[in-house]
């Protein structure tokens, strides 16, 4: 491991040594190293293989801007080695090779590259039809990068909310200035930076001043979020930020985007070899990690950046063989002058035309004179070198601005923001202010404006002039007859692929992207779009500005599914009596968000025994999950009249009535009971899974109708039980109640408020199961006490708790329907025998207009009760179909063996002509055989409904 002496390598701690594994080999590293920096320090420049041709690849940007250096670390796929911190014993693997990384036989694909033009897979592999079946798995197998480990332990991820007056993204020179200026104005500032340490280019650029932290000292209003990457800027300044395993969600009053620039790649033959790097990558590697990525270097320059990189290389002791300056004449910038003075060989109007490979890395560069846009003379010299630093222009990092809906204009061969949304500001080089001085001034301006936009008083300094002219070369693209000049390193897209896609007719930027796959890779084309646009513009004969921008979509890179999921939150709702159910051996099942006992105990006849207890003695069921809504106010009755199909205006206080709700199309959506507790107070129940929707609809409609009612969702405020069975009255009396529960004083459908077992309760004489029954609702905290009191009182009467399964059978014996099971997304009340609950002569109710239309038409189906002609054969299941003359005639909605009747009964939709009692129809059961069924009047059990009125 070779390192430059300090002050090079400011981010590594040379006193702390680590070791990690790459491809089964151990490498030493220092605290502070990334996998890429440590590998390069050990002379390992080959890090992975490319997506399509399996070409050797190494770190290109040293900043994770591309997919070149993606690796697998343990179970984590597709991590950028540029940003992955070395930890002791970390296991790192390269991606996408067959055989071994050094000798990847997948590279045979490159030999066949002439066979694989852009969009090749659209043109072939489909004749004969069977061909695709063969080729598709081959293509799948060749594609993809990292591996998912399905068995890996789920890491801990969580989330945190943050708030700020001003969020500043990027703590480079502009971001630091912006943060300071906003804080001076009094704003609470959140400064977010993705690097190991703040400072941006101050840390690695030649002439950076190196002490960024010092600037923030003494500014308590600036909070710093380091090593945190902003993934997206959503509407209303909602920032998604990833740091470690935490997702931060930040709401800011205003945002300063100071994300800087990427450096622009140079496109020429074999421009992808390990050893060809962006100049900024070289400078980062040297200054931040003390790594020299080569011994003999050539610098390709088109601006001062190239001269700065060359001088840095010289200072680090690297032999700089030449600077190939793409421009015919260089500016007299300070670095160019210094380079001249120090005797560097400077070639004007020259470009690397081809890079040469040896042992999976750069071995030399052939240079040629530039004759015109993208045209070169013959190669005049080959220079042996192991490093080519590329400094031919900048690409503003506008991704977050694009998320926010900014508009851009083409200026100085770059896309720079022109129109920004309210409360969003751009500062520094992303805004075209490239020099240190301009960037800092621009940051100051943006910081002041952001503070002002957040409601603080600040004087706005004048905007500095953009100083971006002459930095970005207009055409750093040099085609070679033999190709392999990569426009998009992620996707191995060559110049000819872009041209061919255009010639194939895919000449809109979006079509080209999809057809050529350029910009579709892991880095989403951050570094590659400008070149794609240049090539398109040339092919079309227009300017790059006319091509337009491709939308940059979130995320910016680095967020995982785990970040987004966080700890997950799937609430489970438990009733007040839950503990009792478990003690009694209740087998729990989900009911909406709740858990309810399906039945109690392990006995295989448990359900039947529960059913018999209710029919013959007394049973107790927890019905706390039923929705509860308090509707109060002078218009309460009128409100219910509009929402539900029946009528409630004249319902006496102390009485309950069935409620049925339809949507606007007349489809049944919920049911329950309305109990009138007071002239202006109804307690309305709804189904367990339907109550949220009912509550929402009530609020929605009340917002429109503006009636004088107050609606409260009280589901979880009450616990409730149904005490049912012939002995229910005796049990209730024994438990003790202040209410006169005699048949005369509290008849069926009566409602009273009073004490039960010393607990204030609402007692409703209703029930789903068709026996004498009391629904008793008490404040939730007394649910368990009520349950205990009733179970104790019931002991002498053989009381049994019963669950949802028994209730389903009991109600089926009574022919009571369950909305959602015995109805579907189109069922209207007349199809399910609910005519009696629909008052068509009311002035209005929800769904009435639709129901009028239904009444004018011939019915198409009817829900009927049925029993099987033969109980001993195969049994139908719910949702088996009724078949008539080979056509679908209906559907079974409920079916069960009735303990009370000793036969299989059910409910089914049948054609109206088959709905009369005694009609026969056929049900197709599992395996396709038919069983006969006979329409039977409902209720199956106690047809005169005498038992519930006892």
């Amino acid at each position: 491991m070779t390192r430059l002496p300090a002050p090079w390598g400011k981010w590594i701690d040379r006193t702390k040594s680590l070791s990690f594994w790459f491809e089964g080999k151990s490498y030493p590293a220092h605290q502070g190293d990334t996998v890429a920096s440590a590998l390069l320090a050990n002379g390992q420049s080959l890090i992975g293989r490319s997506f399509k041709y399996h070409r050797p690849r190494g770190s290109y940007s040293a900043a994770g801007w591309d997919a070149n250096a993606l690796v697998q670390a343990g179970s984590k796929p597709n991590l950028s080695a540029d940003r992955l911190a070395v930890q002791d014993h970390l296991q790192v693997k390269a991606l996408n090779y067959f055989g071994c990384l050094n000798r990847d036989w997948g590279r045979l694909v490159e030999k066949a590259s002439r066979l694989l033009p852009a969009g090749f897979y659209y043109k072939t592999f489909f004749t004969p039809r069977i061909a695709w079946k063969f080729w598709e798995p081959v293509i799948r197998h060749m594609a993809g990068l990292g591996r998912v480990d399905l068995q890996a332990a789920h890491a801990y991820y969580d989330k945190e909310y943050l708030f700020a007056d001003v969020a500043v993204i990027g703590a480079g020179p502009a971001g630091l200035a912006a943060a300071l200026e906003a804080a001076k104005a009094g704003a609470e500032v959140m400064l977010i930076d993705e690097d190991q340490q703040i400072g941006g280019s101050l840390n690695w650029a030649r002439g950076g001043d190196g002490e960024p932290m010092a600037k923030l000292a003494g500014w308590p209003r600036i909070s710093l979020l380091e090593q945190a990457s902003v993934q997206a800027l959503f509407d209303d300044n909602w920032l998604e930020i990833v740091k470690g395993n935490r997702l931060y969600k930040l709401r800011a009053k205003s945002v300063v985007v100071a994300t800087g620039c990427y450096q622009m790649p140079l496109v020429f033959r074999h421009n992808d070899l390990p050893g060809v790097m962006l100049g900024s990558a070289v400078q980062r590697l040297m200054r931040l990690w003390g790594v020299v990525p080569g011994r003999r270097a050539v610098v390709a320059a088109a601006n001062e950046d190239g001269y700065a990189a060359a001088l840095d290389l010289m200072d680090a002791g690297v032999q700089v063989e030449a600077i190939a300056d793409l421009r015919a004449h260089r500016d007299a910038g300070p670095f160019a002058i210094e380079a001249g003075q120090r005797g560097l060989r400077i070639l004007q109007g020259v470009t690397p035309y081809e890079a040469h490979e040896n042992n999976n890395r750069l071995a030399g560069v052939s240079l040629a004179q530039i004759m015109g846009e993208g045209r070169c003379g013959p190669v005049f010299e080959r220079i042996d070198c192991d490093l080519l630093a590329v400094c031919v222009g900048r690409i503003p990092a506008t991704g977050l601005l694009s998320h926010a809906g900014a508009k851009f204009a083409h200026q100085a061969h770059m896309d720079l923001p022109t129109e920004l949304p309210a409360h969003v500001f751009a500062a520094g080089s992303v805004n075209g202010c490239l020099s240190l001085d301009a960037a800092q001034k621009d940051g100051k301006r943006a910081g002041a404006l952001a503070a002002k936009s957040a409601g603080f008083e600040a004087e706005t300094p004048p905007a500095p002039l953009r100083d971006c002219e002459g930095v970005t070369h207009p055409w750093p693209i040099f085609a070679h007859p033999a190709g392999m000049e990569f426009v998009d390193l992620d996707e191995d897209v060559q110049i000819k692929d872009i041209v061919a896609s255009m010639q194939d007719g895919y000449d809109h930027i979006q079509l080209l992207k999809r057809y050529s796959t350029s910009g579709m890779g892991p880095s989403q084309g951050k570094l590659f779009w400008p070149h794609v646009k240049r090539l398109m513009a040339k092919e079309k004969g227009v300017t790059p500005a006319e091509i337009g921008a491709s939308t940059i979509r979130p995320p910016m890179g680095g967020e995982t599914l785990g970040h987004l999921a966080g700890r997950g939150f799937e609430p489970v709702r438990l009733t007040a009596m839950h503990r009792r159910h478990l003690e009694l051996g209740g087998v729990m099942m989900p009911a909406g968000a709740w858990m309810r006992p399906a039945y109690y105990g392990q006995d295989k006849n448990a359900i039947e025994k529960e059913v018999r207890a209710v029919r013959e003695g007394v049973g107790l069921i927890d019905v706390s999950t039923l929705g509860g809504l308090d509707v109060r106010g002078p218009d309460a009755a009128a409100f219910l009249e509009r929402l539900y199909t029946w009528t409630y205006a004249k319902l006496a206080v102390g009485r309950a009535r069935y409620v049925l709700m339809c949507d606007q199309t007349g489809v049944v959506i919920d049911d329950g009971v309305a109990a009138r507790l007071h002239d202006q107070h109804f307690y309305v129940t709804a189904t367990t899974s339907g109550v949220d929707r009912v509550f929402r609809l009530m609020q929605w409609h009340n917002a429109q109708w503006r009636m004088n009612v107050d609606i409260a969702q009280v589901t979880s405020a009450y616990a409730a039980v149904n005490l049912a069975g012939p002995k229910a009255r005796e049990v209730l009396a024994k438990a003790g109640t202040s209410v006169d529960i005699s048949k005369e004083a509290l008849p069926y459908l009566g409602v009273r408020e009073g004490m039960v077992a010393g607990i204030q309760a609402r007692i409703l004489r209703i029930g789903f199961v068709g026996e004498l029954g009391y629904e008793i609702h008490v404040p939730a905290q007394y649910g368990e006490a009520l349950w205990d009191a009733l179970m104790t009182a019931g002991q002498d009467f053989g009381i049994k708790p019963f669950g949802v399964e028994a209730q389903r059978i009991l109600r089926l014996e009574k022919g009571h329907i369950i909305i959602g099971q015995d109805s579907d997304a189109l069922t209207h009340p007349f199809e399910i025998g609910m005519d009696w609950a629909v008052k068509m002569d009311k002035p209005f109710f929800m769904g009435q207009a639709a129901l009028r239309a239904h009444l004018e038409k011939a019915p198409t189906r009817k829900l009927v009760g049925f029993e099987l002609e033969n109980d001993q054969g195969p049994l139908p299941k719910e949702c088996h179909l009724a078949i008539e003359d080979g056509e679908i005639a209906g559907r079974v909605t409920s079916v069960a063996r009735s303990p009370a009747l000793g036969r299989v009964i059910g409910l089914a939709f049948v054609p109206p002509g088959k709905a009369q009692a005694g009609s026969r129809f056929q049900i197709r059961v599992d395996g396709g055989s038919m069983v006969g069924a006979r329409v039977t009047p409902v209720p199956f059990y106690d047809p005169k409904n005498q038992r519930q009125e006892m």
């Binding site: 990292g146 061919a500 890179g557 997950g568 997304a825 679908i888």
Partner: protein, 412 residues
């Protein structure tokens, strides 16, 4: 190695332009199709191929297939719940089977198998209903239990120690995916070869009506006369129909989706969970294509949100916990035109020569071939084919809906 590629490599086959170059608009066309997405282009293709109607212009405001054709997640299935729906989508899958050969363009139609997971009793009942209707109409579809689910797709987490354990599923072995863009491009190429004109960057701004007919179409490139107008503009259906004075019972709601970075193959089946509001499949490129239910509120703007991703992934990791460390690559949104009954609207409107292809909610891509073919028939013959009649526009007025809510991919 296939011959086409060898010919290409040897320079024996000249690359020929697949998508037509832009032309001037003519003064009038027999049929003007508004919307150059998959549906509009398919209709143009079948008009030319089946009915010899070639004086046709497809007007696209942006780029070919740039609306919801580009934004959908490319799943093709026919395991619907209503007989009308099942028949319709079954015919579509039949057309997909040979689409690559018919269009001479690989649309990468790939059968992967499709599992709709059930986490509750009620969901299991719905699965059985769908399976019974499907089988009755000759569509491969079966209710399977949790053991079968584990066998069909080993990547799924079958633990009972999660909030919503997988109890079983509806298995649709013929469930497939196709390269969505390629479907549009393939139709465009072949339609153009037969004389159909495709005009990108041509936005319709209004219709000129006279005597209950549309007589001309106003565009950003001038006015064109029209014999008939077919609109196929998912996401903008209400707006475009509104220009002709036709009001649709449609609410437009954003529908979002996302893809992960590319991974080596680990997931073969298309997985959908209605209760958990999520679906996932792995593309040929190795990306996990993921999405969920439509957004909670209507909006005619395809913007991405953080909420969507958070909710989706919390559920996704319950299904496949091993995806926790997978990086997300891109998220986007499309626009879903939701009808009250979750079925599309096809056929004629109250105007004499206005044909509509709308209401495609979250289920439009898979219908591209059949809708194109049958709408072409409808336009050419001026008669509504039987297979479309259940989806007629006036069904809402008469409350004769086709209730597909139970089979929408991830619920409403």
């Amino acid at each position: 190695m296939p011959l086409v590629l060898i010919k290409h490599a040897l320079g024996l086959s000249r690359p020929k332009r697949q998508l037509p170059a832009q032309k001037e608009l003519k003064s009038s066309y027999d049929v003007v199709i508004v919307g150059g997405g998959g549906h509009g282009l398919a209709a143009a293709y079948y008009l030319a191929k089946d009915w010899g109607v070639t004086n046709v212009a497809v007007l696209e405001k942006s780029w070919l297939g740039g609306g919801n054709t580009a934004r959908n997640t490319a799943i093709v299935r026919s395991n619907y719940i209503t007989p009308e729906g099942v028949r319709f989508y079954k015919e579509s899958m039949g057309l997909f089977e040979t689409l690559s050969q018919d269009l001479d363009f690989n649309v990468m139609y790939t059968k992967r198998g499709h599992l709709t997971l059930a986490h509750t009793d009620a969901a299991m009942r719905t699965m059985r209903w769908r399976a019974e209707v499907n089988k009755h109409l000759g569509v491969q579809s079966e209710v399977v239990d949790d053991k079968d689910v584990a066998r069909i797709e080993p990547a799924l987490n079958m633990s009972r120690a999660v909030r919503w354990p997988i109890l079983g599923a509806l298995h649709h072995p013929v469930g497939a995916t196709a390269r969505h863009d390629a479907v549009a491009w393939g139709y465009a190429q072949r339609a153009a070869e037969m004389g159909v004109e495709i005009h990108q960057g041509t936005e319709v701004t209004g219709f000129e009506l006279s005597g209950g007919k549309i007589v001309s179409v106003q565009t950003t490139r001038g006015k064109v006369g029209c014999g008939k107008v077919l609109q196929a503009v998912a996401g903008m259906s209400s707006k475009v129909a509104g220009m002709a004075g036709v009001t649709l019972p449609i609410r437009t709601i954003p529908l979002q989706a996302c893809v992960s970075q590319p991974l080596k193959p680990f997931l073969d089946t298309i997985i959908v969970s209605g209760s958990l509001h999520c679906y996932i499949w792995q593309s040929q490129r190795g990306e996990c294509v993921m999405g969920g239910a439509v957004d909670p509120y209507p909006l005619q703007a395809p913007r991405s949100t953080l909420d969507f991703k958070e909710g989706l992934m919390a559920h996704m990791l319950e299904l496949i916990p091993g995806l926790a460390d997978v990086p997300l690559m891109r998220q986007w949104a499309g626009l879903a035109d939701m009808t009250p009954d979750f079925s599309p609207v096809m056929g004629k409107t109250s105007l004499e020569n206005h044909y509509i292809d709308a209401g495609w909610g979250t289920w439009g891509f898979k219908a591209t071939p059949v809708c194109g073919k049958r709408m072409a028939e409808c336009v050419a013959t001026e008669k509504v084919p039987d297979i479309l009649s259940a989806f007629r526009f006036d069904r809402f007025k008469n409350f004769e809906q086709v209730g597909e809510a139970g089979a929408a991919s991830v619920g409403s």
